[in-house]
């Protein structure tokens, strides 16, 4: 992933090449200065620079080619060896090409032969080591990159957790829900209906369960039901002709721990995206079951179904999914599927921790 990111940046390639050429030039010029004290002549700088650049080229070349390596050789070893092999070859080429026409070959002139051996020797001494250091530094940089990437990922997870709680806060005290419910309460009170007290009681129960839940990292199925029951009572009071519901809860699942508002999110989703958009309404069935080490929360509705619910489906479910992931990792799943003839099943399958 981080390799991909760096490779996609052409400016990174250019900077890297420039850095390498810079190192090669510096070393070449330094060697030329050292050798000058030994009474060398013209063309010395040019020679060492050519040698340095050829070593850099060898290093870069074998970094990319061949694309796939046999298993018995490592890329870095190949690079270091390549630099070592290139040294005598380059110096040989330089000495052959710099021999004037008609003059005897350089190995027959003791002075030039000495020069060649000196240059080759120094090259062999210094270049592979430089290559080796370069490889080590590159590995270190890669490790640093990865460490940074991990740190980033961790902070991203922390941010997600914070976001999730914020979403929760917004969802649970959603002004639309609150004002609509209060409008109903007011209607009942104005009409002098005996139902007013009952509805108010549901609202108070809902708020009492919802508000402290927001500050807790984990809830239990039992606490969830304290939230879900008044919520459904309120919604049924608001849509008496359109909403029916039933709950079937395994008593052994009551103490199972879950992220706050897990069950409520599923139920709310069924109401908002299943029942509310449907003219005829429908029925919601809540089943909470404990199967050994697992706990399954299933909310089924016979409402509008997946197709008609549009893209809006999800904000609540997406955050729920993120929260489950943060707590359980891959051990928990949120599944959504359509059911015939109408409606949706939303299911959370999580470890039954008590």
């Amino acid at each position: 992933m981080s390799e991909l990111a760096t490779a996609a940046r052409p400016s990174g390639m250019i900077a890297k090449t420039a850095r390498r050429v810079g190192v090669a030039l510096t070393i070449s010029i330094a060697i030329a200065f050292l050798m000058m004290h030994n009474g060398w002549r013209s063309g010395l700088f040019l020679r060492t620079i050519i040698v340095g650049l050829s070593a850099t080229t060898a290093f870069g070349l074998f970094e990319l080619f061949p694309a796939t390596l046999p298993p018995w050789i490592r890329r870095w070893a190949l690079q270091v060896i390549a630099v070592g092999v290139f040294m005598p070859l380059t110096t040989l080429v330089i000495y052959i090409l710099s021999t004037p026409r008609g003059a005897p070959p350089f190995w027959k002139v003791p002075d030039r032969m000495n020069g060649w051996m000196m240059l080759t020797f120094l090259g062999l001494l210094i270049a592979p080591w430089t290559a080796f250091v370069a490889v080590v530094r590159q590995k270190e940089a890669f490790a640093r990159d990865q460490k940074l990437a991990f740190a980033l990922e961790r902070s991203e997870l922390e941010r997600q957790a914070l976001d999730a709680r914020l979403h929760l806060l917004q969802a649970q005290v959603a002004p639309h829900f609150l004002f609509n419910t209060l409008a109903n309460v007011q209607a009942l009170v104005d009409a002098g209906s005996p139902h007013a007290t009952k509805v108010l009681r549901s609202l108070v129960a809902y708020l009492r369960a919802a508000v402290p839940l927001l500050n807790e990292p984990a809830a239990t199925v039992e606490r969830e039901l304290q939230l879900v029951r008044p919520y459904l009572e309120l919604m049924q009071m608001r849509m008496p002709d359109r909403l029916n519901y039933a709950m079937n809860v395994d008593p052994s699942a009551m103490k199972v721990r879950c992220p706050p508002t897990t069950v409520l999110t599923l139920v709310e989703n069924a109401v908002r995206h299943g029942i509310d958009p449907s003219e005829e309404g429908g029925r919601i069935d809540i089943d909470i079951e404990r199967r050994g080490e697992r706990c399954v929360v299933r909310v089924k509705d016979t409402g509008a179904g997946l197709r008609q619910s549009g893209n809006g489906l999800g904000t609540g479910l997406t955050t729920l999914r993120e929260r489950l992931q943060l707590i359980f990792g891959d051990a928990a799943q949120l599944r959504l599927m359509s059911v015939a003839p109408r409606g949706v099943v939303a299911e959370v399958d999580m470890p039954a921790q008590t």
């Binding site: 991909l4 007011q186 009409a191 509310d276 549009g310 809006g312 999800g314 599944r335 599927m337």
Partner: protein, 262 residues
């Protein structure tokens, strides 16, 4: 205008319909409520039957929304929107000088609205032209419900065997287009699974987060997090191997640069 003015009330919550009817009876006893609708479609049907002078429309109703119903009614009646707190809608109302009431409805506010309506009815001024405003409002509501277009796709609705499933985008390993549909290779609780969607891969790609998904071939889009390693071939192509999945995906020449080494 002969006889008493008439009105229609549309709200999917019966208690709120009753409440508005009662409040109107107090503030405006002459007003005759000739129809009560439970949803947008019923409102439109009852309007066509009874032709009331005024329509009180809840915005969020199943099926046809209050805004849609108002578009149908047009200038044939004075429309008053009724809504619970709805930030965007309220903003649009204020800008467009549309009549609206907030739930729970306050008597003072209702009285104001009523006196404005009376004025309009007496001067037999036609209802204000709201077509453009309603279109804007409708678009805004659609955007609000759709979560906005700019947001990347988070769930894919796909057919897995006989069931339609909603697949979280993070669970998708890759997408591969076939002749008629797009194959979704995903993880069902960690286990490799496959599903299909009718949406062309090109349209899906547009909605995906480009940080997470990349096209690697004319017909393949891969989740970068699902890649285990990439093998390069000599002919400038490559193949992608995935984590926990045997499938090998092709990388065509024009996308191979994505996987070049540092």
């Amino acid at each position: 205008m002969s006889g008493h003015p008439t009105a229609l009330i549309a709200d999917d919550e019966p208690l709120l319909r009753d409440a508005l009817r009662r409040q109107l009876a107090e503030v405006w006893p002459e007003l005759e409520i000739v129809a009560e609708a439970r949803n947008g479609r019923e409102a439109v049907r009852l309007f066509d039957e009874r032709h009331p002078d005024i329509c009180f429309l809840d915005i969020q109703m199943p099926g046809l929304s209050g805004v849609d119903a108002a578009s149908h009614i047009g200038r044939r009646a004075h429309v008053v929107f009724v809504t619970a707190y709805d930030h965007y809608a309220v903003h649009a109302f204020e800008q467009g000088a549309l009549d609206y009431l907030l739930k729970p409805v306050e008597e003072a506010r209702l009285a104001e609205t009523v006196s404005r309506l009376k004025e309009r009815l007496e001067s037999s001024r036609p209802a204000i032209n709201t077509e453009q405003l309603l279109q804007q409002l409708s678009a805004q509501l659609a955007k609000l419900q759709g979560g906005g277009k700019s947001e990347p796709l988070r769930w894919i609705r796909a057919q897995a065997g006989k069931t339609l499933r909603l697949i979280a985008i993070d669970d998708v390993d890759y997408l591969r287009s076939d002749e008629k549909y797009t194959l979704v290779a995903w993880r069902d609780g960690g286990k490799p699974a496959e599903a299909v969607v009718r949406t062309p891969i090109k349209d899906l790609l547009e909605q995906l987060d480009s940080e997470q998904f990349a096209q690697v071939h004319r017909s393949v889009v891969v989740n970068l997090r699902a890649i285990s390693h990439v093998k390069r071939h000599d002919n400038e192509t490559a193949e992608i191997h995935l984590k926990g999945r045997d499938d090998v995906l092709p990388v065509s020449r024009s996308y191979v640069h994505l996987f070049r080494q540092m």
